[in-house]
Symmetry: C2
Subunit: 490 residues, 2 copies
């Protein structure tokens, strides 16, 4: 009987590039993978938020991402402190085409397995607080979805924000109220307003922030797309791909689709659209200014995260990782310091960070793509030094974990154990190494490191070769099933 009314599925949109958070975010470590807003990454927070609503638990979570981010995303969820996160399913967009096609893909995937299935669509890179309001709000939206509505969550605005889209509440739908949550017809979906309009919206009281969270029957969304010919192509492509279109054809089919948001393609024009207002702490973490929320300001309005001192500055945000940052007599700056790159921006210019990223990209700067520290399912590695002919990394392996059994075509490696206990596989041998002991792994020899102790294992790796790219790795065995043709990293 439960199957007849459809289960609830979570669709977590995790393909975003997070350019506006550079240099903290990188192409291979976008905003949703960052752990600075809480104890786990934003994508893990998004999943944990929705898990209690899912009958099937994490197996009913569909993470939509792209080929480029898949490995990093899976590494990130595997590395979190909850094994259930390893059970989520991934859906790879053939090519990025904004939210309407991405959600269509997920809906086609769900509908093919659960024809009456309900989807809760969530961004993966937002901050949200207040769990009590949250569960009533989503329960209310699920009720609407079962009654055939496409529903959106609207956040009660607390300021005249110009950085968000708004949803106007129209006629109340009192029959859908649950607990502290109630619903209304959506009168309009409007784009980011200017300051005057935003102030008017706030005064009006009927406008809500569009949080990008949508709840609907999967098949209902596809039906809605079919009302116009250009959108129908989206639904058709999504269903064909969900039915198993070969990868090349899928990419071709998806490339031909319009790049359009769910708001524009569906929500603004559909007939049965509802909104559930929610008084929750919420932010899209849309710019580096969000760093300001991470610590209390001093008397001059300066916020600091990380090591350093200030003399005589005001209204300045300093965020640093391990390095020391000192400020002297400056004002209205956002300073973001990471292991390999620093950004100094005026507060008023911070929304233009993508221009910096584009300029760096044009120069071929590697700092756009890859952070110095990379999360792996079994731990992390950090590049300490890279010069022509050799590279030095620090590798941390969690207790009980091991990297893949692998070999390299163009580099040899030497490992020194800095702390902890290692078992090293080298060809047919197994060696047990402690602090100060080392092993040489020539080009082509299979090898693996394993932490056999109870403390973190820290290894200093010196790579020597004429090519030292992360893609020179052949995985022969892997506890995380990465043996395939996938090319990225240890």
């Amino acid at each position: 009987m439960v199957a007849d009314i459809g289960r609830v599925h979570a669709v977590v949109l995790a393909g975003g590039s997070g350019q506006r958070f550079w240099p903290i975010s990188r192409e291979l470590s976008p905003k949703q993978l960052l752990g600075l807003f809480g104890t786990e990454s934003l994508v893990a927070q998004a999943i944990h938020r929705v898990l209690p609503l899912l009958e099937g638990g994490a197996t009913d979570v569909l993470v939509v991402t792209n080929e480029r981010l898949f490995d990093e995303l899976r590494n990130n969820l595997t590395a979190q402190d909850d094994e259930h996160l390893q059970d989520v399913a991934y859906l790879i967009e053939p090519i990025g085409r904004n939210t309407a096609p991405a959600i269509a893909l997920a809906c086609a995937h769900v509908a093919a397995r659960d024809p009456q299935g309900i989807v809760v669509v969530l961004p993966s890179d937002h901050v949200l607080t207040d769990g009590a309001v949250w569960s009533d709000t989503i329960a209310c939206a699920i009720g609407l979805a079962r009654a055939g509505y496409l529903s959106a969550i609207g956040i009660e605005p607390t300021r005249a924000e110009t950085g968000y889209g708004y949803i106007l509440q129209a006629k109340a739908l009192p029959e859908f109220a649950i607990g502290c949550a109630h619903a209304a017809r959506a009168g309009a979906f409007v784009e980011k307003p200017d300051a005057q309009t935003a102030a008017a919206y706030l005064a009006d009281g009927g406008y809500l922030w569009n949080a990008g969270i949508f709840v609907m029957r999967a098949s209902g969304y596809l039906d809605e797309l079919r009302r116009t010919p250009s959108n129908a192509a989206i639904a058709d492509a999504a269903e064909a791909i969900a039915a198993g279109l070969p990868q090349d054809e899928a990419r071709e089919r998806f490339s031909a689709l319009p790049s359009v948001s769910i708001d524009v393609a569906v929500m603004e024009s559909a007939e049965r659209v509802a909104v559930v207002p929610a008084a929750m702490g919420w932010s899209d973490v849309g710019s580096l200014l969000s760093l300001e929320t991470l610590a209390a300001p001093d008397a001059a309005g300066n916020v600091r995260v990380g090591r350093g001192v200030d003399v005589g500055s005001s209204n300045t945000v300093v965020y640093s990782g391990d390095r020391l940052v000192a400020t002297l007599g400056v004002g209205d700056l956002i300073i973001v310091d990471t292991a390999d790159a620093t950004l100094v921006a005026h507060r008023d210019s911070v929304h233009d960070v993508r221009l910096v990223v584009e300029a760096l990209k044009a120069k071929g700067a590697p700092e756009v793509t890859q952070p110095k520290t990379s999360l792996r399912p079994w731990g992390t590695w950090t590049t300490l030094l890279e010069l022509p002919g050799y590279k030095v990394k620090e590798i941390d392996v969690k207790p009980g974990c091991r990297a893949s059994l692998q070999r390299h075509a163009r580099r040899g490696e030497t490992w020194i154990v800095a702390s902890g206990r290692a078992r090293v596989t080298r060809g047919g041998d197994a060696l047990d190494l402690g602090p100060g002991e080392s092993v040489h792994l020539p080009v082509g020899v299979t090898h693996r490191m394993e932490n056999t102790g109870t403390e973190p294992l820290r290894i200093i790796e010196v790579q020597i070769g004429d090519y030292l790219g992360e893609d020179d790795v052949e995985r022969l065995a892997d506890d995380w099933h990465r043996e395939s043709t996938r090319r990225r990293s240890t």
Copy 2:
């Protein structure tokens, strides 16, 4: 006969702490040791400037410094591309007491060996261009010194600078003219003026910048000091120390002296004081604003040294070592980025950098003392990572060079050759290692690394121990005679 009129000796004052250049300068790497203003360090430039005037060459150079800086200074001069710099003599101030006592110490040292000796006193941390004017200028000043004058070099001002002291020219002394140089009686030595006074000085035409360069008979300076009782104590202490006072007594004696500059103690009041005007490019490199001279500005007045991009900034100086620094919409900033610390300062506040250094010192920040890269006579080392229990360094050894034969009481080390050819001494063994090969050096075992190849030798060192300070080293043999009780570094 030459001895009768006294030789010319150079006295290079190299005890300065260079706080105003943090984070490029550190306590153990002050401004005079920096190589960014030219192809060699400022102290090496100062010595090379004066060498052609010295009959005895580098053996007639006396570098005055302090105990703390001695090793670093000698390493720096040894590392320069001129073996003669290894011949200079060092004079260690028992304690810092400004220039009058430091110069007295040098003069007593010279006068004891060469009673008629002439000293050319030079700061070690200034930038000076135009060698042709220079040699006539100093020759003219030497002539004055032989005739019993205390003479100073005065730079023809090119702007109404408020950061320098001035010397007023009085009656010309035409009989001392040599080549393009001519001399005058000094009318007055005046301290740094305010803006209005500086403008008046420039308009007047008779005022010269006080470059801190003095030429005089060593004994004449001591005689001059003896004219007042408090200054006589300086001369007496200097002569006693030069005659071989034990170290403890020397420190006690020097501590009791007034901390006073040569300008105040002698030049402002002495009778036979001359000035030699010189139209030379000169700067005391007094603040980080000097970095502005290292590259041409863009159309918006931004100067950049190092990797990075800018979007929309103006009048901003960005100096970075290896890391990437991006700027976005900022103005009037000086941004200085080094391997382990970054300073972001307003242009108008840059003279207060010492306040930042003091605040960091109060917090015990190691970034005040030691740069990540340290120059050794045989090469360099750079700290890549330091965590409780272990430290990782990259060590570069120049072809044909070797570090000292040494051992450590509290740390073991493992070396991996990253590039080049190494001969490693370990206890009684000698091992020849190439790229990828490694060796473990347990606690207490004597060891040494030598570059036996023709390319730089690069070694990654992992130190493991409960104490990893640079002072845990016992040198048993050293090509630079550092075996003694001296404690600083490999």
